[in-house]
Every structure is written in structure tokens, then in C-alpha cells.
């Protein structure tokens, strides 16, 4: 893997001391990740020794603020961006910084920083706390797109996790939302659903192989898996149908199954993952 080759390059440059200029020469364009190799624990320790705690704290705070601003649109935040714009010459202690950032989010803001893609190193922010019915998060009226998203996620969930896009569009049509026409609230609906929601990782829009003409299907995205409570979803659906949520036994079972452990950025797992890389 190209990552390993890079490791030997950066290792030698690192041993010469933290020379950021040399790094800039060795590392090319950091659009994609191979330019940033995860430093080892010993390198991190050496890096930490060279800096004052105040400097590290300042860097941590900057990353926290960066993530907050980047999270406004709910698009995932790339590690490459964090390193390029904020961490910069402190990249040799990146694992330590990101670990502290995760702690700050959890303890100060009650949020979780989750790495949803360990291959491409992409993070999202989700809330640790549940929202109570009737209370809105920030006192402002909710975004109607949440309603649209809810409808789509419900259909996909109730239909077993995968749904042909035609089914979704047919149902939306009954709700007066047509992908061919401009909607007065949502605008270009097709773009919102297949582009915005997908980029935000709420949905996955996947091509079905061997179809002629081209067909796509919808699945839940990684952000939806983390953010959405299936039990609450089922409760609302039950309320709408005036049925007991448990009457959909299969879905109920899936909703109440214990969740898979997410890759939350905490002190517990960052140190372990560093040695693996």
C-alpha cells in the first residue's frame, strides 16, 4: 500500500527533527489521504514533549471550533481538511489532538465525534443526548426537510432496509412531492434527496447492478444509522397507523436489537488504532 511506502519516507524525515518544511516537500497534495500517515505512539510522545501544554490546548480548541463550523451543513468532515487547515505543523501529534477533541465534545458539549469511515477518515458529530418529544433543539422551528427525510427513512426501514427508488418516488407523489416538478418548499426534490441527503450520509443511493435501464435503490446512510432511533421512528409510524408498534414484529425486533458499537473518538480506542496503523 502506498501508505507504507510513505511511512518510511516520513519516518526518516521525522527522525531528523520536526522539520515542517521538509514535510511539505515530501508530502504532496493532500487531497486524498496517502499524504497523511498516522504517526506512531512513540512519535506522538516525542512530538508532545516538544510542545507546551498550552500550545496543545490551543490547537485542540481550534480543531473543536473548526469542526463546529464545518458541521453546520451536516456534511462529514474529512481528516485531511482538519490536518491541512488547522493542525498543520502539529500533525505529528494528530492522534493526541483528536483524542482530546473527542473528549471535549463529550464532556463539554454532550456530543459524540464519530469516525464513520475508517478507510477515508471522515467524521460526523452527533448528539449524545436524546431529544424529548415536544422540545426543539434550539428553539427554532424545525426544518421541513427533516419531515421529508423521515418519510424516506421510514419507507426504507419498514420495507426491510432496501427499497427501489421508484417506490420512494411513488409514495412521495402521493404526498404531492414530485421529482419532476419544482416543489415550493423543497425546490429540486431529486437533488435534495439523491444529492444532499446522500452527501450528509443520511441515505445511500446505490446503483442496482445488471439493470437496464439504470435503476437505483435507497438504503440508510451511516449518519442515519447513528442518529436515528428506530424505536422512536416505529412509535411515530404506529401513531399514524393507530397500530401498536409491536405489530410489526420484524421491524420491532430490528429496532430493539442492541446497536453495533460506533467508532467514537475517545481515549479508549484512538490509542489502540494508532498502533494498528
Amino acid at each position: 500500500m502506498s501508505q507504507r511506502k510513505r511511512a518510511s519516507n516520513t519516518q526518516s524525515s521525522q527522525n531528523k527533527g520536526v522539520r515542517s518544511q521538509r514535510w511539505e516537500a515530501v508530502l504532496g497534495d493532500d487531497e486524498d489521504d496517502p499524504s497523511f500517515t498516522q504517526p506512531s505512539t512513540s512519535q506522538v510522545q516525542k512530538g508532545l514533549d516538544r510542545l507546551t501544554p498550552a500550545q496543545v490546548d490551543l490547537k485542540t480548541a481550534e480543531v473543536v471550533q473548526f469542526i463546529f463550523v464545518k458541521d453546520q451543513k451536516k456534511f462529514p468532515i474529512r481528516r485531511a481538511d482538519i490536518v491541512k487547515h488547522v493542525v498543520k505543523e502539529y500533525r505529528n501529534i494528530y492522534p493526541e489532538i483528536i483524542k482530546r477533541v473527542g473528549c471535549v465534545f463529550e464532556t463539554v458539549f454532550g456530543l459524540k465525534l464519530v469516525e464513520i469511515d475508517s478507510k477515508n477518515h471522515v467524521y460526523i458529530l452527533i448528539n449524545k443526548l436524546e431529544q424529548l418529544e415536544g422540545e426543539s433543539l434550539n428553539m427554532s422551528p424545525s426544518n421541513p426537510k427533516t419531515g421529508l427525510l423521515f418519510v424516506i427513512l421510514s419507507i426504507v426501514f419498514m420495507k426491510g432496509g432496501v427499497v427501489k427508488e421508484s417506490m420512494v418516488w411513488n409514495t412521495l407523489k402521493k404526498l404531492r412531492v414530485d421529482q419532476g416538478e419544482r416543489h415550493e418548499i423543497f425546490g429540486d426534490v431529486k437533488k435534495v434527496v439523491t444529492d444532499e441527503f446522500v452527501r450528509q450520509r443520511y441515505l445511500e443511493y446505490v446503483r442496482i447492478p445488471h439493470t437496464e435501464p439504470l435503476e437505483f435503490e435507497f438504503r440508510w446512510g451511516q449518519r442515519a444509522d447513528m442518529e436515528v432511533s428506530k424505536v422512536k421512528l416505529l412509535e411515530f409510524i404506529g401513531q399514524l397507523h393507530e397500530q401498536d408498534p409491536q405489530s410489526w414484529t420484524q421491524q420491532y425486533r430490528e429496532a430493539t436489537a442492541p446497536p453495533a458499537a460506533p467508532a467514537v473518538v475517545t481515549s479508549a480506542n484512538t490509542s489502540a488504532s494508532v498502533s494498528q496503523r
Binding site: 458541521d71 452527533i126 427525510l149 420495507k159 409514495t171 402521493k174 432511533s229 397500530q243 410489526w248
Partner: protein, 343 residues
Amino acid sequence: MRRAIRGGDETAPPRQNGVPGGKGDGRAAERGDAAAAGADDDEAGCSPAEMQDEDNDPARRREIRSKYRDLINSVQQNREDMLSPTNNKLTDVLEEANKLFAEVRQAREAALDAQLLVLATDLGKEKASQLHAEGSAFDPSAFAEHLLSFMGLNRLEDEDEEEEGGGVSSGYLPQDAWQRVATRAQCCFRTAPSFHYMMGSFLAELPPPRQRVERQRKVPGREAKRIMPTQLRRMEESHQEATEKEVERILGYLQGYFNDDPTSPISYYEFVIDPTSFSRSVENIFHTSFLVRDGVARMYLDHDKLPCIAPVEEGEVEAGGTSSRQQCVISISPKSWKSLHTT
């Protein structure tokens, strides 16, 4: 079957007549391979002449292919219809296909048959998923109807016509329809709140002053407005006044007490301590310190070494404060405050 397709096949020249030119077949050969393998292999080469003729009849081949295409089209067009658990149309289609398949001889037809099979199995899978033995089924149309009701759809009174299959409920949907759904659905999401500055985001510079504008004194309101976070200016002013007022008030009290009994000293602590409120006491100390700083009150120690305070006589007030200045720091904590006011 592949041999039949390849151009230079020497064992069966008569068969070539029935097979039209290469381009369609190349593709068909790939797709039809799997299916074709099952079809009559023993026909290659040495079959009786009559049978060859019938199989080679191009009209017959075309007929079969067109029948297949019809079947495929009907499955595609009537998909929704076939999905319905109330009929057996899918089975009929499969039986039809079976009959046709008996006459398939060449890869091209077999390819169509394979395509039909793919469509049929897809439909079959869908139908099967509808038949979940346990739990109730989920019907997206019913879901949509319930949602519309939730959104507050005002169904029109006179709905005589039957809704077409998959038709839309008519009626008036209120403006905040989607808002309602969103508000209710919000609690299913554990979204992190979006970050935004509390009081506006940036300080913009005034646009460069235009010289050509009237030279008369402008009313402040006419100046271009700065975009600034709402300044808490006025708060500060009132705060300032409050302090001065308080200091004046304290001075008034001090002078009052002194005038009542000019000879007996006023114990400092007795003066500033408010037995009912610690914070009040601290405020009093704060305001009194202004009096001392401004030279209108003076503090001294009496013979018990307890601090006392007295207003400075009218004549003694010196402008500029050339008298020696001394400073001291007084600290007080709730504990000491308690012990002070109980004694």
C-alpha cells in the same frame, strides 16, 4: 449452440440461412450462453433434415421472439398489477413462458427467455416479501394517506370519482404541512445542534464616506448602519450611574449618622454590614471605598484598634488630595460576615 452462431461453421451450412447476420447474435450469444447450454445440443450437425427445416424457419423464430418480447413488455408494464397478492398473473406469465421455451432452438430466443426469467423472479421476490408470515405488512400508500391526515389535509367534500390506481388524494394541504411532520419527527433524530454565533457574526466597516453628500450636520440616524453584534452599550451606562448614585446615598447616610451624634465614633463594620445580606454588605464596602478614595470620608482606628469611619469636615476637604494617602485592603468572607453581624 455456439457453433451455430460462428460464421464459418462447416458442419451446418443449411442452418446459416435461418440465422440472420452476426451483430445481434454476438451479444445474444453471451447472454444466452447459460440458457443455451441446456437447449438441444444434440442437434448440432447431424439431425434429420425435416427437423432442421422446421427449426430454421425464420418466420417461426421471429414469431417466438416476438411472443417473448410481448411477455416481457406485459410484465414490465403491469408490474404493480402483478404484484398484487390478489391474482395469479405472474403464474400465468410463467406458464406461457414455459410453453414458448419448448420451441426455443437458438441462443437469441433463449436470451429473451432469460431476460423474462430475471423479471419474473424479481417480481416473485417482491411478492414473497409481501407475504411475511409474522407481523403486519407495511403498505406505503396507506402510510402516505395517514401522513396526509397528520399534515392536516382538508379533504374535499365531494369526492365522487374513484381514485385511479396510485392516485393522489385531493384536498387542500396547509402551508405548514411538512413543518408539522418535521416537528414531530425531530425527536427521532439525535442531531448535534448547528453552531451559530449568538449575536450576529461580524463587524463590517462603514462604507467609505462620500464627499459629495450634503455638508450639513447629518442626523446620526442617516449614517449607514454598521452591522455589529448588538452592543450592550446602554447597560454599561446605567451601571455607571448606579454606582455613583449608590455612593452618594452612602455618603448621605454617613453624614446623617455623624450629624446625629458627632462625638461618638461610627464603627466601620457596624456601618457597612447588612445583617440580612452578605452581598449587600460587600456592596456597601465597595461604595464606601469610593468615599474614602474621593477624600470625603476618612477611616481611622479607635483606641481598641477597631476601624471607624467619619465624614470629612467641610473645611477639611482638600482639593487635589495632597494629604498622605494610605491604602488598605479589606476582605470579607461569608463566614466572617456571619460572625461579624452576630457580635
